[in-house]
C-alpha cells in the first residue's frame, strides 16, 4: 500500500493534528469528539453553518472551515459518516444565537447521524435546520435507491451558503439559499483508477489498464458502468450531457462550471477536461460566468474527475464572489 501514513487506525487523527497545527490562524480542532471550528466561533448573531462526512475527501469539509464558508466540520472515519455527538458538539460550539444549519450530503449514514444530532440538539434548546445535497445524476432511478448522492455541488453549496450566513441572513433564508443551490446544481463523476482505504490495504475494486468507471461516487464505490478508456473529450461529453439534460440547463442559462479532480489526477488534465466541458456548454448556449477547476472533493488518491454545473443568478454570483478565508479556499481577503 503506497501511502504516507503510520498506522491505519491513526490516519484521521494524525492528519487532523497536522491540519490543526498548519492552520491554527484560521481554525481550531477539537479531538474528543472530533470537529473543526473556525477560530473565532461562535460568531455572534450569525447562523452557524455545520457540515461533515467521512474523511478521505480532503480538502472537503475541514478545509472549508473559516470566514465566509463553514463554521464547523465533523470528520468521520475514512468514507464513514461522523457520529451524532460530533455534530452536536460542533453545533453547540458555533451557535451564535441565530440558529444552526446542517449541510448534509445525501448518504444514508450521514442523513441518520445528522438527524440524530439534530434531535439531540433540539432537546438541548438549539435551533437546527438542515439542507441536503443530492446532485449526482449518475443515480438515475432514485426512487429505488437511497436517492442521489451528494458530490461536487457540496463545495459550491458550502461556499455560497457560508457567504449568505456571513451576510447575517436568518436561518430560514440561509437554509433556503442552500436548497436553491441544491436544486440548481447537478454533477457526474468518473474514475480511471480505484483508491485504497488504509485499513483495507488494497484498491476497492480492480480496474484494468484499459478500462474506466463512469458514474462513480466519492467513496471508492464502483460506478454505474464500466467502459473501455476513451479520450478526455469523449469522457467529458459522457459526463456533461447527462448533467445538462437532467436539470435541464437551457440556452441562455448563466452557470458556474466546476471540474473537480478525484485526488490522483494532475491539475493539467483537469484543464483539458475543462476546455472540452466549456466547449460543450457553449454548444448548448450556456453562459459560463464562473469557473472552478481543482481537486476540491476527492476520493483519496483515485484518478478521475467529476463535473458540476450550477445555475446562477445575481445573488448566487454575489455570494460565490464574496470573500472567503479557509485553509483550502481563499479569496477577497
Amino acid at each position: 500500500m503506497k501511502k504516507l501514513i503510520n498506522r491505519a487506525e491513526d490516519v484521521v487523527r494524525e492528519s487532523l493534528e497536522g491540519f490543526a497545527a498548519a492552520h491554527a490562524d484560521l481554525i481550531r480542532v477539537n479531538f474528543e469528539p472530533a470537529y473543526v471550528a473556525r477560530r473565532d466561533a461562535p460568531v455572534n448573531g450569525k447562523v452557524g453553518v455545520v457540515s461533515g462526512g467521512g474523511s478521505g475527501h480532503e480538502p472537503l469539509h475541514s478545509g472549508y472551515v473559516g470566514m465566509g464558508m463553514l463554521d464547523a466540520a465533523c470528520p468521520g472515519s475514512i468514507f464513514s459518516s461522523p457520529t451524532p455527538d460530533q455534530m452536536l458538539e460542533a453545533s453547540k460550539a458555533v451557535d451564535g444565537g441565530a440558529g444552526i444549519l446542517h449541510i448534509i450530503k445525501n448518504y444514508t449514514g450521514d442523513q441518520m447521524n445528522f438527524e440524530m444530532a439534530a434531535e439531540l440538539g433540539r432537546a438541548e434548546g438549539l435551533e437546527i435546520d438542515s439542507a441536503v445535497i443530492d446532485d449526482d445524476v449518475a443515480v438515475t432511478d432514485s426512487l429505488y435507491t437511497a436517492g442521489r448522492r451528494g458530490v461536487g455541488l457540496t463545495v459550491l453549496a458550502e461556499k455560497i451558503t457560508g457567504a449568505a450566513a456571513e451576510e447575517r441572513r436568518s436561518l430560514k433564508e440561509v437554509a433556503n439559499i442552500c436548497r436553491q443551490v441544491n436544486s440548481w446544481g447537478r454533477s457526474m463523476g468518473m474514475a480511471l483508477t480505484s483508491c485504497t482505504v488504509p485499513h483495507i490495504g488494497h484498491p476497492m475494486f480492480d480496474l484494468p489498464e484499459n478500462e474506466m468507471e463512469i458514474g462513480i461516487g466519492i467513496h471508492g464505490e464502483p460506478g454505474r458502468k464500466r467502459l473501455p478508456i476513451q479520450s478526455a473529450d469523449e469522457i467529458t461529453a459522457m459526463l456533461m450531457e447527462p448533467v445538462i439534460q437532467d436539470l435541464p440547463y437551457r440556452a441562455g442559462d448563466r452557470v458556474l462550471l466546476f471540474v473537480n479532480g478525484m485526488g490522483g489526477t494532475p491539475l493539467s488534465e483537469l484543464y483539458i477536461v475543462y476546455r472540452q466541458a466549456l466547449s460543450i456548454a457553449k454548444g448548448h448556449r450556456l453562459n459560463v460566468e464562473r469557473s472552478f477547476v481543482g481537486s476540491y472533493i476527492t476520493s483519496l488518491e483515485m484518478a478521475g474527475c467529476s463535473i458540476t454545473l450550477l445555475k446562477l443568478d445575481d445573488t448566487l454570483i454575489r455570494l460565490w464572489d464574496a470573500p472567503v478565508k479557509t485553509p483550502a479556499l481563499r479569496w477577497g481577503i
Binding site: P33, G54, G76, S77, I78, F79, S80, S81, P82, T83, P84, D85, Y107, T108, G109, M112, N113, E115, M116, A138, V139, D141, Y144, T145, A146, R149, V197, H199, I200, M204, F205, G217, H219, G220, E221, P222, R224
Partner: protein
Amino acid sequence: MPLQTIDKGAIVRWLTACADSIAANREYLTKLDAAIGDGDHGVNMDRGFKAVVVKLSAGAEMDIPQLMKSAGMTLISTVGGASGPLYGTFFLQAAQVCAGKAELTLADWIAMLKAAMNGIMARGKASAGDKTMLDALAPAVQALEDAAAQVHSTAGALALSACAAKAGMSATEPLVARKGRASYLGERSAGHLDPGAASMYLLLKAAAETLASR
C-alpha cells in the same frame, strides 16, 4: 417447567460475544462492504463493539436496560456510517421495552427485538427485501414468535431465530439493493451478501450461543 430466563450475566456474555464475533469477522464484513459499499462496515462495527465492551467493564453497576442503553449510545457515538445509528437504535429501542426489568423472559426478548426492528425501520425507512440488515432481523423475529407460540425452550427459540437470520442473510445475495450505499450500484449490487445482514446474523447467532446458557 418454566421457560429459562435471561439474566444480566447473560446479557453481558452476549455483548462480549458480539464483540468477539465482530472482531473475528472484521475482514469478512469489510470485504462484503467493499464489494457493494465502501468497505468500512467491519472496521466501524469492530471499533463500536470494542467500545461497548470497555463500557461493560466500567459499568458493573448497570442493570439490563442500562446495559442495553449504554451499548446503544456507545455504538451511536463510535460506529458512524449507516450502521452506527441503526445498531444504536436497535439497542436503545430494546432498552426502552425492558425498562425496569432485572431478568428477561423469552417474551421480553421477543418484544425487545421487535421494538429494535421497528426502530430500525423507522430510522432507515427500509422494508424487508431492500437488501439490508432488516432482511436478517425480520425473519429472526418471526421465527421467535413462531417458536414462542409452540412453547419451545428459550434456548431452542433463540437457536431457531439465529437459523432464520442466517437464511435471511443468505437470501440477500441475489437481491438488488434499494437502500443504503449498495443501492447506487443498481443491478450490480446483486450477487453479493449484504454486509449489514451479515453483521446482524452474527449478533443473533451470538445471542443464541450465550443468552440461554450459564
